[in-house]
């Protein structure tokens, strides 16, 4: 027996990344599972926490509510997203690119901003509600299931929309023409040929919205009213002023992970089966509609896009309203911005620094990991691939709890530091950059790098000189996507922050709870602006492909 592949640069990178994931993911989550099986007082091994969570009505209600908002958000997003996709891909709708861009912007704006904007409109003192009350119409309260599902539907529909339109655009038009040739009317063709062909894409998008809905903390916390879900329950149990209950909070977290894991596995399974693409001969030509139908279709499309984007508009508008102390007065001004610069300039800096540092780490590690996953398929790299699924499965609240439990004592005493927030952002958003880097690598042939090696370049040099420059577009969009999600991160920051490490999303959340809508609006506008610039750049870099964001 002779030559084996020598342990080169990439072997060490792989080992290092596995070690990082072990410390930042496996260990904290193991801590959660351990805590869920431990009696808080005696420290003894017990199933009591799980028994309570599964039998007490208090927790059963939270689980039921979680499933209700998950299914509600999923159905709402699907019922909005699929028709919009069919309309914009099959019929002549002007401003199709504009609609896609609006959908993309809706997608990336943080959900808690949506929740809070809807309160501004339909909350107890909401201006829309007040306007309707003036003319004698009573609008149902936004608080509760109605509000949560409304926010999720309008926030998450772009996932279903973008995935379904991408699939609709790759159906061979001859299939639909064949259906017409066989005598199928428009409705029959839509329901029996077109939609079944894109079912995998729809299902995939729908399950994704379900996972996002059950993991979301900000929306139920802000508009949930008395509706408790698992995410808010775990948070309250952990941070309760009566000292908290780590055992119970941990078992609620484990339950939440179990639900999302089940659905993510289902979603992956569906996604893996979505190879319905036929050999594409030509793109389907959008049909012209009669004047009335066209008007209706345009109205529907623009209404949906407007409704999804409305929260952002309301937030920006609110941020420029004149204030006097905590209340709004007629007229416009920059009082709210002056106030945040005066009172909380630090949170803006914190958010910017934490996100940028995390994104820098994510970009470097994500690029290397993406490379390993697409070019070095070994048993170790398969382990890594599986490990990177974990951040998708673990809701922010749970990861925040896990970090607090794991990093509050020697050897890694990090609670209350900026480091713990940066590490959390890093590990939570790493998969975005990995995916983006692996995707672009699939478009770069491996022989190019081998050619460089055969010309005498070491593996590291061949990567740096040849492959890396070609990966730049993918790396940039991966970095921007992780920046967008990092700067908008609320749930885990809310658990990990202390006064001096507060971030913008946390400040917005606290301001909303305190009714300081001006401050919240001004901070949210800054977040939206940062997000908007990042989105614009992604679209620019990826050559206008909104599904790059999904």
């Amino acid at each position: 027996m002779s030559a084996r592949r020598p342990r080169d640069f990439w072997t060490w990178v792989l080992v290092a990344v596995l070690a990082i994931l072990a410390v930042l993911l496996v260990w904290p989550l193991a801590g959660i599972f351990k805590a869920s099986l431990t009696d808080n007082r005696s420290g003894a091994f017990t199933f009591a926490n799980y028994v309570r969570v599964l039998t007490q009505p208090f927790f059963q209600t939270a689980l039921t509510n979680t499933l209700i908002v998950g299914i509600g958000g999923m159905l709402g997003a699907t019922l909005i997203g699929v028709p919009l996709a069919v309309l914009t891909t099959r019929f002549a709708i002007s401003g199709r690119n504009f609609l896609s861009t609006v959908a993309a912007l809706t997608l990336v704006s943080p959900p808690f901003i949506g929740a809070y904007a809807w309160i501004m409109m339909l909350g107890r003192n909401g201006f829309v509600r007040a306007a309707f009350e003036d003319i004698g119409i009573e609008i149902p309260s936004i608080y509760g299931f109605f509000g949560i599902i409304l926010v999720f539907s309008l926030k998450f529909y772009p996932f279903v929309f973008l995935m379904t339109s991408a699939a609709l655009r790759t159906i061979n038009p001859t299939l639909e023409e064949a259906a017409v040739g066989l005598g199928a009317g428009p409705a029959r063709r839509l329901f029996q040929v077109t939609l079944p062909l894109v079912t995998p894409a729809i299902t995939s998008g729908a399950l994704l919205t379900f996972v996002l809905s059950i993991a979301d903390f900000g929306t139920p916390a802000i508009v949930g009213g008395r509706v408790r879900v698992l995410a808010t329950t775990a948070f309250n149990l952990f941070t309760s002023e009566m000292g908290g209950n780590p055992g119970l909070a941990s078992s609620v977290s484990a339950l939440l992970i179990a639900v999302s894991a089940a659905v993510v596995v289902l979603q992956r399974w569906w996604a893996a089966r979505r190879n319905v693409e036929s050999a594409l001969v030509r793109r389907p030509a959008p049909r012209r509609l009669g004047p009335l139908a066209s008007l209706g279709a345009h109205a529907a499309c623009y209404l949906i896009a407007f409704a999804g984007f409305l929260p952002s508009l309301v937030v920006v508008w609110t941020s420029f309203r004149k204030t006097s102390g905590p209340v709004f007065v007629p007229g416009f001004g920059v009082d709210s911005y002056a106030k945040i610069l005066r009172e909380v300039p630090q949170v803006i800096g914190n958010s910017a620094i934490y996100s940028l540092v995390a994104v820098a780490l994510i970009t470097v590690v994500g690029t290397l990991v993406g490379y390993i996953l697409s070019r070095r398929q070994t048993r170790l790299s398969a382990t890594l691939d599986a490990g990177l699924m974990i951040p998708y499965l673990v809701p922010g609240v749970v990861l925040g709890l896990a970090f607090t439990v794991a990093f509050n004592a020697w050897p890694l005493e990090l609670t209350g530091t900026a480091t713990i927030i940066v590490l959390m952002l890093f590990v939570r958003r790493l998969p975005y950059a990995v995916r983006s880097s692996a995707t672009i690598l699939r478009q770069i042939r491996g022989t190019i790098e081998e050619a460089a090696i055969s010309l005498g370049a070491s593996p590291a040099r061949a990567f740096a000189k040849i492959t890396l420059p070609l990966m730049v577009p993918g790396i940039v969009s991966g970095a921007l996507m992780s920046f967008i999600t990092a700067i908008n991160e609320l749930s885990s920051s809310l658990i990990l922050y202390v006064g001096r490490t507060m971030t913008m999303p946390v400040r917005i959340y606290l301001s909303v709870l305190d009714g300081e809508f001006g401050t919240a609006a001004a901070l949210s506008t800054i977040l939206l602006a940062a997000t908007g610039i990042a989105v614009y750049t992604v679209l620019h870099v990826s050559g206008r492909n909104e599904s790059a964001l999904a």
Partner: protein, 361 residues
Amino acid sequence: MARVDIEEVVKTYGNVRALDGVSLSIASGEFFTLLGPSGCGKTTLLRTIAGFNAHDGGHIRVDGTPIDDVAAHRRDMGLVYQDYAIFPHMTVSENVAFGLVTRRKPRAEIEERVRRVLDLVQLGPLADRLPQALSGGQQQRVALARAMVINPRILLMDEPLSNLDAKLRIELREDIRTLQRSLGITTIYVTHDQEEALVVSDRVCVMHQGRVHQVATPPEVYARPATLFVASFVGAMNLFADLAVDAAGNVTVAGVRLRVPALAGRTRATIGIRPEDVVLDGPDDGAPSLSFDAKVERASFAGRELLLRLTAADSTGLAANSYRPDPSAVPQPGQHARARLPLSRLHAFDPATGARIGTGA
């Protein structure tokens, strides 16, 4: 310039032996071709020599020194790929200069050598273009220049012409051969195209299922195929499989009995003849041969040759080619012809092992 010795090299992927104990010696300056169908192990062997596949057993030596543990980038071998593998973000001259820059050559020397090699492959005027502006043939010339400019000890080419159209393939293979000869670089060339292999190589190695079937010069491979596989892969051959041989060395083909001296003492044999060696309605020169009447099933006129498909009375099939056919006298299906198989043109193989026994005479 270097000599390469491959000794008992083994490479397995799970249960598949991609290289099953391959031993070869390639002389310094030789143009050596690995020929075989896809999956035969030829590319695996090439990549193992280049250092991109670790082999599980055996040794590879260059000029007597084992290189089994030498990393790919230290092996000093130029590599040319089927998909060109041109660096898309670098100009033609930057591509060609890459190996020299890596070797930290002085700038003036790099410029000079790049210019010379680009002139050699007739790409001088395109030096500052980006690869996307180049045709496939031009890109492959860049790849060739890039591999040769470093004066590698060995030049490795993995189906370099497969992505090009037929006319360009012929043009470029002549260029490759001329360049290789003038520079005298030891070259190992992988292809599945037997004609290409015969045209360019000093010696050809025919591989099948991870094993070497024959290593010989092109005329030798064609005239004396070492195994049944080589016989059918390189050129075409009519095979009369697994015939019974009597004690006197007689076999029966198409109902006709014939004594084949080479088969004396055997019980079974497979007999083959190349289509162009079958004589149709020709004058009998008296040499020992096997003759029978056959019916024309199909006649395809291909310009410089005529391809015939015939069947004997006992429905034995036979392919026969004739060169420079008379376009006004193409045989019609149903016509009869006298087929003669000269004994000296017959190839005999052992049906159990596939190994060559000899010619008929």
